[in-house]
């Protein structure tokens, strides 16, 4: 499983939505109910389980599933 797929599994665990429902334009807060507490948990969970680092200045800009996947793709290509 690649990073993006694992991240979707993690997000699915957190918000209860099926992985298939997690589309690039799916909004984290509005569609998945990922509010601040869940968002913080999500970021650290992704970092820990996938051994990646999401820079502080990018956390606030994570608004959609696509945003999360984009950051992971960056990490994958740079590693």
């Amino acid at each position: 499983m690649n990073l993006e797929q694992e991240a979707l599994e993690i997000i699915s665990e957190i918000c209860g939505a099926e992985v298939s429902a997690l589309q690039p334009d799916t909004e984290l807060a509005a569609d998945l109910g990922i509010d601040s507490p869940k968002a913080l948990y999500m970021v650290v969970e992704i970092e820990d389980r996938l051994q990646v680092e999401i820079p502080d200045d990018q956390v606030q800009d994570l608004k959609t599933i696509g945003d999360v996947l984009a950051i992971l793709r960056e990490q994958e290509s740079s590693s």
């Binding site: 807060a29 998945l32 509010d35 601040s36 913080l40 948990y41 502080d56 606030q60």
Partner: protein, 487 residues
């Protein structure tokens, strides 16, 4: 924290302000800071390096000129000549900000006497069901609460140094990202106490994995204050179910009620049997849509509570009215807002703006007169949501918007937004609804429980054009609002 405590010693009226995001102040927090500065007229703003840079880069000169770091403060002080101030107990010790995430908050003036009395009252109430006093039964407070919130400031920090408990403080972000850490400390640090808004307990219930729970031993946790927002019995029971296997007892939960204008706590459960409920009195359940109301307990030491009808007549047990408070923990008023302060009091009783009933000496909170939402333990003003709903959805075709909260889900308050739109086309309506949800989601990091698009003229207003949000909510709960998008 040092700067806050130091300012207290100097009688310099510290005001704790919610910190900015991870990267300094964004537009929203900058706007809020400026409105705080205008209201409170501080001599200095003390903050970390990142925030100071943001402020120096982005704020008006009057704001950036007074912004310094704790190091600047320390360097600027002269070591000699300091004498411990005599301190008049009735003098204001610090200001507690109350209200939403944008716009001008109110600054509650808390006196030395009120803060001390409220802490002692809290300690007395906590000790009630314990085998000895709180002091004999508890060693350590484990807090993740931010210091700008009254539960963190009085309930943890002041509580610790006035009563002599050890205090372990986790950064709020650490708790939210890793709730397990809070629970680990609660289990490891001896006989512990903690307080949290309801959502935090639910966060633990939802996020901890079975393997992590197996490692926990929560038998030493003596008291878990739960308050600061609507307390739901489902949240309490859910937490008990999840954690009783590692030693957590239902009776550790201590529901409570309070507000910043009363320092922190007004009532607290004294039984130590977890949450107890009564059915919502007929008609009052419509406030939030609740059928069962959790007891917030009896008034704490040196505090009286009563409920009144709109004509100020005192009500009997079981009758829902405005919760009014008298006692030693009340505030000195709102800083620089004498009129708002005067409106708060009637015959020496504080008007809480909350609704509830008393039964056998205990308070049951059923709703709110004041237009306020409380989510994640933080106040959110309806007009902040309404402004976003109007600007993101529909533009010129959106007329009035109204926001209120209900308690449809099991966890607490949820947001409902109503927008009057002149639009008819189903696709356009769907787009407006989506835009509103996304706008609120991105601005507040919150999901909306329901968005209703209604014909212009639907939202009830007063003769002066103010939105009657409670009436709007009542109509919503009774299914009387006609939705445009559903034909």
């Amino acid at each position: 924290m040092d700067a806050w405590l130091g300012a207290l010693f100097l009688s310099a009226l510290p005001v704790a302000v919610a910190p900015a995001g991870l990267m300094g102040l964004d537009e929203q927090s900058m706007a809020r800071l400026v409105s705080i500065v205008e209201r409170v007229e501080p001599r200095s703003i003390v903050c970390g390096q990142r925030s100071r840079k943001s402020i120096r880069d982005g704020a008006r000169p009057e704001v950036s000129e007074i912004t310094i770091t704790p190091e600047d403060l320390r360097n600027g002080l002269r070591a000699s000549g300091f004498r411990m101030p005599k301190g008049d107990r009735e003098e204001t010790a610090y200001l507690q900000l109350t209200s939403g995430s944008t716009g001008a908050p109110r600054a509650v003036m808390v006196s030395h006497r009120a803060a001390i009395q409220n802490v002692l009252a809290l300690d007395d109430a906590i000790g009630s069901p314990l085998p000895g006093s709180a002091q004999e039964s508890i060693d350590t407070i484990i807090s993740w609460l931010p210091q700008h919130h009254d539960m963190g400031l009085i309930g943890c920090l002041c509580y610790s140094f006035i009563c002599g408990y050890e205090l372990v403080m986790l950064p709020p972000q650490a708790f939210l990202a890793r709730p397990r850490l809070w629970l680990e400390h609660l289990g490891r640090a001896g006989r512990t106490m903690a307080g949290s808004p309801s959502f935090a307990y639910q966060h633990c219930t939802d996020r901890l994995k079975d393997g992590e729970i197996e490692q926990l031993d929560l038998a030493g946790w003596q008291a878990a204050m739960i308050g600061a927002e609507m307390v739901r019995t489902e949240v309490v029971e859910g937490f008990v179910d999840r954690f009783e296997g590692c030693g957590f007892r239902r009776g550790t939960f201590r529901p409570c009620y309070g507000l910043a204008e009363a320092s922190l706590v007004v009532t607290m459960d004294r039984f130590g049997e977890g949450s107890r409920t009564r059915p919502a009195p007929a008609g009052s359940g419509a406030e939030f849509g609740l059928s069962e109301i959790v007891s917030s307990g009896a008034p704490v030491m040196e505090t009286e509570v009563r409920t009144t009808a709109p004509d100020a007549r005192v009500l009997a047990d079981g009758e829902v009215g405005e919760i009014r408070i008298k006692g030693e923990g009340l505030f000195n008023g709102y800083y620089n807002q004498p009129e708002a302060t005067a409106r708060c009091f009637q015959d020496g009783w504080l008007r809480s703006g909350d609704l509830g009933f008393l039964f056998e000496g205990e308070l049951y909170v059923t709703g709110r007169l004041k237009d306020l939402l409380i989510i994640h333990g933080q106040n959110l003003m309806p007009h902040e949501l309404e402004r976003v709903a109007k600007s993101f959805g529909g533009g010129p075709s959106t007329h009035r918007t109204g926001a209120f909260s209900i308690a449809r889900g099991a966890e607490g308050e949820e947001i409902v937004l109503v927008s009057e739109v002149a639009e008819r086309d189903p696709e356009a309506l769907a787009a407006i609804e989506r835009a509103v949800r996304v706008g609120v989601g991105r601005t507040f990091s919150l999901a909306v429980a329901d968005v209703l698009l209604v014909p212009p003229g639907t939202i009830p207003v007063t003769t002066s054009g103010k939105i009657r949000r409670r009436q709007l909510r009542e109509s919503y709960l009774e299914g009387r609002l006609r939705r445009m998008d559903r034909g």
